[in-house]
Amino acid sequence: MSVRHALLALLSEGPKYGLQLRQEFESRTGEVWPLNVGQVYTTLQRLERDGLVESDGSDGPQNVFSITPAGSKELATWLRTPPEVVPPPRDELVIKVLVATRVPGVDVPELLQVHRRHLVEAMQEYTHLKGDMPADDVELGLVVDSELFRLEAIVRWIDAADARLKRIPSRAGGAPTPAPRRRPRLGVRR
């Protein structure tokens, strides 16, 4: 998400001061994305240059900004544009596990458990944060849920890797493996 589009979203509710935009930005993102006031004014200047917002021409903090029709159109387009869904360029955990299955003497299930524990501990922190927050704090709830689902997906991959390796015991102990066969290339992970 860009600061640019977040500011357009806030201005779609009505004209606002720069300082007010900064405070509302932080509270709407569950206060997990701190923003300095300089970033807010620089972004507003660029939006004004591009004709997406306009100011009332006052000086400094008294300057009130409003969204233009072009700005509203830009915001509507951005909200409906799907983010890119591509695998990360290099997934470190996948690489570590692939390497581990070929390093002699490595106990792969134990290695998977180290990563599983680390992830579950992170999930506990987020879940308890969610459990302690007021039920009406929707913004923080959405951010925490998103992080929990992301971490859970990794734990599920670890569980699946564990089960897959258990079916082939020789690979769970980091034993030497037969020469690799040619197989189709997957994705763009380089």
Partner: protein, 238 residues
């Protein structure tokens, strides 16, 4: 509150011998919610039925509130189950012919409490779980989330000290599942010792401590949790 020492369970014998649990140590304090996490066949459900005195271990000791379960008579063990231990299952296990409040009052009445005080205690338990209305509805008139709340009320009614749950959110969507975990967590904060067994990391992450079970052994557990401040200070969500 719950102490399992070197608990083992073997089913069958000879070539058909299955080691469901191997020298498991687990202790859960009053006020603590512990999740036992592991894949299917890791021994989770066996651990829970032994902790709940529904099954006897082949080796080791189980202490509930400092009482060695193996030394109790059959009757004393049944009384311990009725009075001190609450169970929550994935499938709710409510009795169809009884209303919500009658389901919750049942364990008290079986324990000799008169109908009127049992009903009052059941109504109070249901109100604590946000089900003050519709207490006279029957299980087939309740949604999944409501049914599980009735089951939790039944598990915590009276003077229960130990709450045991087997995949309690398995039949619910994520919003109702979260509500159930909030209730279990809050019951534990009120002084009950809780054990939840699950394969689900989201569910386990509600616990104060997560114990990992693999092939009948405890292989690992999570560290005590730091406060939420550390999470935000790290900027982990930016």
């Amino acid at each position: 509150m719950l102490e399992m020492r070197q608990v083992s369970k073997v089913y069958g014998s000879g070539a058909a011998e299955v080691h469901a649990l191997r020298e498991v140590d687990l202790s859960v304090r009053a006020g603590e919610l512990v999740a036992v996490m592991g894949p299917s066949g890791s021994g989770k459900s066996t651990l829970l039925t032994i902790a709940g005195t529904l099954e006897e271990p082949t080796g080791g000791e189980v202490l509930i509130g400092d009482r060695d379960v193996a030394r109790l008579s059959r009757n004393d063990r049944a009384r311990l189950r009725r009075r001190s231990i609450g169970y929550v299952f994935q499938e709710f296990n409510l009795i169809p012919g009884l209303s919500a409040v009658e389901n919750v009052a049942l364990p008290l009445e079986l324990d000799g409490v008169r109908v009127r005080p049992a009903r009052s205690a059941a109504l109070a338990a249901l109100a604590r779980l946000g089900l003050a209305d519709g207490v006279d509805r029957y299980p087939d008139e309740l949604s999944g989330g409501e049914s599980q709340r009735v089951a939790i009320a039944r598990a915590v009614v009276g003077e229960r000290h130990l709450l045991l749950a087997d995949e309690p959110t398995g039949a619910l969507d994520s919003v109702n599942g979260e509500a159930v975990m909030r209730l279990l967590r809050s019951a534990c904060r009120d002084g009950v010792a809780g054990v939840v067994v699950t394969h689900d990391a989201q569910l386990a992450s509600w616990a104060d401590r997560v114990v990992f079970l693999r092939d009948g052994r405890v292989v690992d557990q999570t560290a005590p949790r730091p406060g939420p401040e550390s999470l935000l200070a790290r900027g982990a969500m930016s």
